[in-house]
Structure formats: structure tokens, C-alpha cells
């Protein structure tokens, strides 16, 4: 068991004021990706467990209404990670991502260059069961392509807590890692095997009924390599520090020099390491109050999006997805994503459905409630589905 030095930052009035002063202004941020490639689109999908041929097989997209391969809608997370971690500020104060609200307007295809513009959206102080004094933040990102078309708009709210305070609260003290027997694993395998992708049959808006359930999907058991080794292709750069500046070895050292209070120095070994390593180190996760290595939450947003993209098929469109991360998704957890239709309406030429979606773990806890809007093709002539 390593000991962590008391190199924690504090939430200061100045730090909060600095963030508040930036509300309103849009910043241009360099694209995290110069080139969208077939490899990146495929790896992003498969790193999130999605094997929809639309996102994985470059020969499939050209046979669809798109006319080309398209990226999974949550690909934009790789351009700029849609979480307030990307905002910076309050050095040494930990950040937890509390949810997403992302709207999708146009597809991303190989050859595109996507540029993000972002700003802090709201900053407020709160007290919570988890960690005492905390700051709630939201940011807004607009993603545009090289034709200056808006591809997506995202919110990624989160909260900042002092690391040591989080540990002292013990909300998850009773939680243990999930044991898995062969039967449990077979059930998960059967769910993967049976995952339904609607594909090229149109799912007409007129045929959808309120209360209709979407075929569920499963993702898990979550392993630390699935959290850590997604690289630029599965979850973007986790540091949110900016574009092509960071990397291994020297670049870690340089980032710690540039951002005082950012690194966590291990008191036993004297080695500084990244503050987000609670994602794959149990020790550090517990230090900040989480029962074990925990997921990069945007992965759950990608899974919930997959539930919908599986269902709407090649002729439909995921228009918006929102969720809240109510519980940590810890190594060993398996998440079932389920949804049902709760509303239908028409907006101009678009025929929309609203879905209530939830990610539930193997303990039966709803870790990720949320919802989505989808645009479906209609039998009405002149209906429009984005692409």
C-alpha cells in the first residue's frame, strides 16, 4: 500500500472567482485530431465495445444513405474531451465528471478535421455527502468541421472536490468487488452475442409505440486495460491538457512543471504520477474515496449512445443524449443499458422520439440514468433525417 503525500490543492475563493470570470467567453481550442481516419473511427467504436458495421467496416457506410463511413456520434469526445476536466483551473483539486448532454447535428467522416470551441458555462459552490465543500461546473463545447458546419454541441458538467476530503467521507465503504462465476459470464457473453443492430431496415416513426422497449446491450465486466489503454482512439487524452503537447516521459515531466499542484507525488517512491490514475490504480482510487479503479465516465455516454444507434439503424439518427453519473462504475462492474420510448413528436420535417435510458450495474443499482432523442424516417414524404 503506497502512501500519498499531502500535495493536495484547496478550493479557494480566488480559484472559483477565476473560473467565474471566464464564463461567457468562447475559446478556440486546437483540434485534438488533425485527421479523422478509418482506423480512428473503427478503434473508437470497438474500444467502446461497439461493432456496428457502419462504424467499423469502411466498405459498409458507402452502401448506406450516408454514402461514406461515419463515426460513432460520441467520436467528438476525442476532439475535446466533453468533461470539465478540459477547463482546468483550481490546481490540485480533483475533478469528477457528473454527466453529459450532447446534441448531434452532422456525421463525422474520414478526412474531416474537427475543431472545438469551448467555454465555462456555469460555476457554483455546493456541499455534498461525498466530499464536503465542492464546486459544480459546467462547460459547453461546439464542434465544427472544416466546412464550418456545427457537428455537435456538448455539455460535460462535473464537480471539483479536494482529494483528501473525498477520501474521508466513505460513501462507498461497504462496496466490494464483484465475484464472477461461469454462469454470470455466460449470461454476459450471451448478451453480447445476441446484441441487435437494426441495420439497413428503416424503423419508421409511425411504427414505434410509446412504451416500446429497446433491445438492451451489455458492457462488462469492466477491466482496467479497457479504461487505461484506449489511447487517443478510444477515449481521447484523459488529461484534457491540450492537443498534441502531452505524451510520455519528458512530456509528463513538462506538464507537471507547467501546472503546479497537478501531479500526485507518491511519498514512498518519490515518483510523480498523473492525478487521474484512480482510473486504474485501486490505491489512488481509495485515496480519493472511490471503492476501486473506476471508469472514464464518457465511456458510459458512448454505451448509451450505442443502445440508440443500434436501434435507430442506418436510416435513423441519434439527435441528443443526456445522462448523469450517479455511481462510480468500478473495475469488475458490468453495465446493462436499457431504454424505452416515452414520447413522440414532430418538429418541422423531423420525426422524433424521446427515450428514457438507464445504465444499471450487476448490483441492480442504476449507475447512469438518462435519456435521448432520436430522429426516425417517416412514411410521410419529405421527412428529414440528419446525416
Amino acid at each position: 500500500m503506497t502512501k500519498h503525500a499531502k500535495t493536495v490543492g484547496q478550493i479557494t475563493d480566488e480559484g472559483i472567482a477565476d473560473l467565474k470570470a471566464r464564463i461567457g467567453a468562447y475559446y478556440r481550442s486546437g483540434p485534438y485530431r488533425l485527421d479523422v481516419t478509418v482506423d480512428d473511427i473503427r478503434n473508437h467504436a470497438t474500444n467502446n465495445g461497439d461493432w456496428n458495421p457502419l462504424y467499423v467496416d469502411p466498405a459498409y457506410g458507402p452502401t448506406t444513405r450516408y454514402g461514406h463511413m461515419v463515426a460513432h456520434p460520441t467520436y467528438v469526445d476525442l476532439i475535446l474531451h466533453y468533461t470539465v476536466a478540459a477547463l482546468g483551473g483550481l490546481p490540485g483539486v480533483h475533478v469528477f465528471h457528473s454527466g453529459n448532454d450532447v446534441s448531434f447535428f452532422r456525421s463525422v467522416r474520414p478526412g474531416d478535421t474537427i475543431g472545438p470551441t469551448y467555454r465555462p458555462y456555469s460555476v457554483e459552490e455546493k456541499h455534498g455527502k461525498f466530499a464536503g465543500r465542492m464546486v459544480l461546473l459546467d462547460m459547453e463545447i461546439i464542434y465544427r468541421n472544416q466546412r464550418d458546419e456545427v457537428v455537435a454541441r456538448a455539455h460535460g458538467p462535473g464537480f471539483r472536490v479536494v482529494r483528501q476530503q473525498a477520501r474521508d467521507r466513505g460513501k462507498y465503504a461497504a462496496q466490494r468487488k464483484q465475484p464472477y462465476d461461469t454462469e454470470a459470464l455466460e449470461a454476459i457473453w450471451a448478451a453480447y452475442d445476441g446484441e441487435e443492430i437494426h441495420g439497413d431496415k428503416p424503423r419508421y416513426w409511425e411504427d414505434v409505440k410509446i412504451g416500446e422497449e429497446l433491445p438492451p446491450i451489455v458492457r462488462g465486466p469492466l477491466r482496467i486495460v479497457e479504461i487505461a489503454f484506449r489511447g487517443w482512439s478510444g477515449g481521447g487524452r484523459l488529461t484534457g491538457a491540450g492537443g498534441l503537447t502531452a505524451g510520455a516521459h519528458y512530456y509528463q515531466f513538462e506538464e507537471y512543471m507547467r501546472r503546479a499542484g497537478y501531479a500526485e507525488r507518491d511519498a514512498a517512491t518519490g515518483v510523480s504520477d498523473h492525478p487521474h490514475r484512480g482510473h486504474w490504480e485501486d490505491d489512488f482510487a481509495r485515496f480519493i474515496g472511490v471503492p476501486g479503479a473506476y471508469d472514464v465516465a464518457v465511456q458510459r455516454t458512448a454505451w448509451m449512445a450505442s443502445l440508440v444507434t443500434n436501434w435507430v439503424g442506418d436510416h435513423g439518427w441519434l439527435r441528443r443524449i443526456w445522462n448523469q453519473f450517479r455511481r462510480f462504475n468500478v473495475e469488475g462492474d458490468t453495465t446493462w443499458v436499457r431504454g424505452r420510448v416515452v414520447r413522440k413528436w414532430i418538429e418541422g420535417r423531423q420525426h422524433l422520439v424521446e427515450l428514457e435510458i438507464a445504465g444499471t450495474n450487476q448490483r441492480g443499482e442504476v449507475s447512469t440514468p438518462g435519456g435521448a432523442w432520436a430522429v426516425l424516417p417517416s412514411k410521410h414524404p419529405g421527412s428529414f433525417v440528419p446525416k
Binding site: 485530431r33 488533425l34 485527421d35 481516419t37 478509418v38 482506423d39 480512428d40 478503434n43 470497438t46 474500444n47 467502446n48 465495445g49 461493432w51 468487488k177 464483484q178 465475484p179 464472477y180 462465476d181 454470470a184 459470464l185 454476459i188 457473453w189 453480447y192 446484441e195 458492457r219 462488462g220 465486466p221 477491466r223 482496467i224 486495460v225 479497457e226 487505461a228 489503454f229 484506449r230 489511447g231 487517443w232 482512439s233 478510444g234 484523459l238 498534441l244 502531452a246 505524451g247 510520455a248 516521459h249 519528458y250 512530456y251 509528463q252 515531466f253 513538462e254 514512498a268 517512491t269 518519490g270 515518483v271 504520477d273 498523473h274 490514475r277 486504474w280 490504480e281 469488475g332
Partner: protein, 387 residues
Amino acid sequence: MTEAMTTERTSYPTLTPEGIAAARALIGVPLRRRVYTSLASREMLLRYAKAIGCRNSLYKDPSYGLLNTAWAALIGHPTALYCFDDTFVAPKLAGIHAIYAGVTFKWAYPVRAGDTISAEAKLAAVEEKEGAFCGPMVLQTGEVVYTNQYGRVVGRAVPRILRTPRDAARDRGKYAGISRHQYKAEEIDAIMRAYIDEEVRGERPRYWEEVTVGDALPPIVKGPLTTEDMNFFMGEVGGTLFFREFLAHWRRHPAAVFRDPETGMPDSWDSSLLRDTPAREFGFPAAHDSGLQRVAWLDCLITNWMGDLAFLRRLDVRLVRPVIHGDTNWCRGEVTEKRWEQGRPLVDLSVRCVNQDGDVTAAGTATVELLSHDVHVAPPCLIQPEV
């Protein structure tokens, strides 16, 4: 819910004549590989450079090579070939661990941004060996050929992978006494100074005539090794299976996965790149590097020294000892010979990685083609030798 799995020591398969014969039967057969990258986009080449901590503008700057050098392109680090095939050729012998023992790379000319690289991998040899680490083991030698979109071979690799029965390695405990290094502040300072002082020859040509046998290459440092360094490298080179792919692998090769002793959850062996527990299952003392990284670091040592227009023709590296998290490796080398081969000015180098305790962790040789003062000798960028 089941009880927690017993924490009795797991027993792993051992080498059998049938197993070895089955491996031999694959010699010369093109192997099916999981491809993570085939397009050498600007993005991907720059990311690889950052993933190995490269400081050389030639590889890490999008426009330097294009505008400042006679390559007239962004070119890839020589070992960026790992992204197109990681050279881990270790088929069959399920349940027997696989450890990268080394590789010989030969390059014909660089990968340029925009190239598409396809790789073909085969098993070339299977030999029975004996060693202190685990007694009887098997050495698998592979052949990987990298070809660009014009059908030209850009490079070849001959990797060597040791198949090491886990029980025997644990029993012998060759590395059991190794623990994470505890750094004094002066040691960290020395590493930081080495990063700051790292020399890149860059645009000033290194002429064959000016090199003397015995010349030392300016050493470079890589470390202390952290999980973040692993994330960057593994995220770039690939090899991780995600979600349904991993479970499919487990179903096909039940002996090939690691079961968490506490929960019974299946996990892949690459979790030993992040965690101590799986590493100890096969006789390593702690979470460790991928082995490929040391080859990449020696690539950096040489390419830093040789100058923008030189060319690394051959690099042969033998991995001698595990590198665990927290280790720092100092890469050093000297010129051992100067010669002409078919009218080309070549120098041979002896190179090695030495850790913070003075142990050699990797050792090898290399051949570099330099520029010459002789105006009739064309620079490497105008030559395309067959490999």
C-alpha cells in the same frame, strides 16, 4: 451470488511435446493479426512520437520534416512500425506465458505521412531452450514484413518471444527480490536535468568522416516509468481487446486469460502492464514495461544522435531484465565501427538501457547510414535499398 473464489495458487499449463509440435506446425504460415492501424496519418505518426517521449522535431512536429529537410515529409519514427504490427508473434502454447525477448529491425526507408502500411507476420522458428528464469522454455522467432501502398517493403522485423511456464517461473523466483525504487530528491533532480539537457543533433549534418570509433552518443533518460507512460504507448501500439472481443478470446482460449484470484473475473495478461498481481503470477516482480518500449527508447537515442538526414538501417535489441514501474532507464551507446558497404557510409553502434541501479535492462547493436563529405555519395533520402 457465489462465494469469493479460493485464493489458492492457480496452476498453469506446462510445456508438452504436443504443444510444441503444434506451434512448429505453424512455421511459415501467414498469421491472422488484429490490425489497429494501417494508415500512417499525420496524427498517428505524431502521436507515436509523443507516446515514446520523443524530443526530435523531425518526428514530433507536423511541418518540420516537410519544410526543413530533404525528406520533404513528416516521417515516422523507425519503431512506429510497431503500430502497424506489434511484432508479438507468439501463436499456440495457450496458457504458457509470452515475454518479448528482443527484435531485429531492418529498415529500407521511412514511413511518410499518408502512407498505408500492411504487415504480414509469420512464425519462423520454434526452439527449446533452458534458462534461469523458469528452466525449460520455448523461443519463438517471427518474421514481420511491412509493405507500403506501392508494394515496397519499408521494413522487416525478426522478433523473439520466450514462452515461459508460469508455475516454474514463480517457483524459481529469479526476480522476486526486486521492489520499486525509492528515489531521493537528488535522483529526481538528475532525471529532470537530463530531460532538460537532452540533445538532438537535428539539422546539423553528422558526416561519416567526422565520426570516430569510440564516440559516445549523448545519453538520454526515460523514466521514472509510470502508468501514464504505459497508457500512451499501449494506446498507440494497440493489442488490447475490448469487451466482447475479450470475452470471445476467453471462450476460444480459456487457458489464455488471467483469473482474478479474489473475484474469478477473467482478465487479459496485459493488465500486468498496470498492476502487480498478474505480473507476479508469471514470475515478474511488479507491473512492468512492454519491452517494445525499450526498443523505441534506443531508437530515440540513435535518431537524436544521427541527424535529420541520416537513416537508421538496422537495430537489434535483446531484452535482458524486467523493467518495472518506477524504473528509470538511461540509454547509452558508442560507435564501434565505421565502414563502407556498397558505396554507402555506415557506422555501427553498441547501445544499451541501464536502470537506476546500474543494471543493463536491454542491450543491442545498430547500423546507421550517415551523410558523407564526398559529393558523389547521395544522402539516404535519395536511396531506396532493398531490405
